[in-house]
């Protein structure tokens, strides 16, 4: 299955925005801490990603993620 970085970025930003932070704050460089995105939010993000792209993100994968860009890159990499 092939997905573009832009597609993943769009989906991730949209999902994170639904969790509370303002869409304009959600840049690749933004950290989850800054965005007040916690572990429960990341589990929900992982469910969306699995549902959409078939990419399974485990707890240990999520722990390494610091920024929005980290998450997008990991999803794109796994989807290839």
């Amino acid at each position: 299955m092939s997905v573009t970085t832009e597609q993943v970025e769009g989906r991730v930003v949209e999902t994170l925005a639904s969790f509370g932070p303002d869409q304009s704050q959600i840049t690749r460089a933004a950290t989850f801490e800054e965005l007040d995105i916690d572990s429960l939010d990341l589990v929900e993000l992982a469910q969306v990603v699995e549902d959409e792209y078939g990419v399974v993100l485990k707890g240990e994968d999520m722990k390494e993620l610091k920024t929005v860009g980290d998450a997008i890159d990991l999803i794109v990499e796994r989807a290839e």
């Binding site: 639904s18 969790f19 509370g20 007040d36 429960l40 929900e44």
Partner: protein, 407 residues
């Protein structure tokens, strides 16, 4: 037995409510007194309530409706208490006790649909933290920075009153200097309607008319009531306005039947007696009773018996009215909402009527305040004393004694 000499006095410094009559404790009491009924289409819905008006996106997403109600009601209560963004005491000395009968029922049903339709992997990680019965307590502590003792209380329709009683004891015995307490419920779901209907507990006519001969069951409602309790001297030292005193608390159990009240009213009357004694008062000192008054045949008969057993001849001399006639039965929130209504009654000196009460039941012979609101008379120069009753499926009985603030 008897009251212990060294217990601390506990006052109410803030109240808040979300009910079918709207958001606000004043709204609840003012509209009740005006004769408004918040029930439509068979239930007391908080139709006008929009969580997004009061809470952040994150709070709305993470909280079941019962916790949203609690958070909004608690915001009003701490605001009235003058807690400016944080408690006026060491946060580790400020507790929280919030009750619910059932918890996040809507979340349970939604996530069961997800499990059935989309599989276990898609069940939300927010499911448990939303539907656990202590979710509202947790949300209120986080919102207001309360780090003392906190927990949820569950005793069906007596839950809210148990929360207030537990909070009272927590302060009286020095475990906390202030406690935010109350109850919330949001179970107006198809499944809950089906469950209560199967028990034949709900009114088939959808009319809440407690103590009336035609009463045919309770009308379910949703909402929350919250009170801020503070140790009296600490409240005075910071210049807080005292709304009322939670003067006494009594609680017993029927040990009789899962849902039917013990018909003689014996254990329930004992709860009323204990609350009066706990307040250092006599039955003749009681000026008003805010009844549990569910509009079921059994409760209203057993409660009337209990009041007469507890108060003797004095029972017929005082007004007894039911807040459920205006908002329906808010289950685990009921005791807290009715405690809020009782505080407003003492504060305003106006007793809300038992709406819909028109045809007396020959067996039930107290003054149920038919028709319209009336002035609260009593006190004999002292602040007036009210009793708020709560009785539950499971046989749990609670009475709170609430004393008006000195004028």
């Amino acid at each position: 037995m008897g009251s212990l000499p060294d217990r601390r006095k506990v006052v109410v410094t803030g109240v808040g409510a979300v009910t079918p009559l709207g958001v606000g404790a004043e709204t609840l009491h003012d509209r009740w007194v005006a004769g408004d009924v918040g029930i439509s289409d068979g239930a007391g819905w908080c139709r006008g309530f929009d969580a997004k008006e009061f809470l952040s996106i994150k709070e709305v997403r993470r909280l079941d409706r019962f916790s949203q109600f609690a958070l909004v009601a608690s915001g009003e209560a701490v605001g009235q208490a003058g807690w400016d963004g944080e408690p006026p005491y060491d946060p580790l000395r400020v507790g929280c006790v919030m009750a619910t009968g059932i918890g996040g029922q809507d979340t349970v049903e939604t996530q069961l649909d997800v499990l059935r339709d989309r599989g276990a992997k898609m069940v939300s990680p927010l499911g448990i933290p939303q539907y656990m019965p202590n979710a509202a307590t947790a949300a209120v502590t986080m919102k207001h920075g309360l780090q003392g003792q906190s927990y949820g209380v569950v005793s069906a329709c007596a839950s809210g009153a148990h929360a207030v009683g537990s909070a009272l004891r927590m302060i009286q015995y020095g475990d906390a200097d202030a406690v935010v307490c109350g109850g919330s419920e949001a179970t107006l779901t198809k499944f809950a309607f089906a469950s209560f209907t199967a028990m034949q507990a709900l009114s088939p006519t959808g009319i809440s008319r407690p103590f009336d001969a035609r009463r045919d069951g309770f009308v379910m409602g949703e909402g929350s009531g919250v009170l801020v309790l503070e140790e009296a001297e600490a409240a005075a030292a910071r210049g807080a306005t005292v709304l009322a005193e939670i003067a006494g608390y009594g609680s017993t159990t029927d040990a009789h039947h899962l849902t039917a009240p013990e018909p003689t009213g014996g254990p329930a009357s004992r709860a009323i007696e204990l609350a009066i004694r706990d307040a250092g008062a006599q039955s003749a000192d009681v000026d008003y009773i805010n009844a549990h008054g569910t509009s079921t045949q059994l409760n209203d008969a057993a409660e009337t018996a209990a009041i007469k057993l507890a108060l003797g001849d004095h029972a017929k001399r005082i007004p007894v009215s039911s807040t459920k006639s205006t908002v329906g039965h808010l289950l685990g929130a009921a005791g807290a909402v009715e405690a809020v209504a009782t505080v407003r009654t003492l504060l305003t000196g106006v007793i809300g009527p038992t709406l819909g009460y028109e045809v007396p039941d020959p067996e039930l012979d107290l003054d149920y305040v038919p028709g319209e609101a009336r002035p609260l008379i009593g006190g004999n120069g002292h602040p007036p004393l009210a009793i708020s009753n709560s009785f539950a499926f499971g046989g749990h009985n609670v009475a709170l004694a609430v004393r008006g603030a000195p004028r």
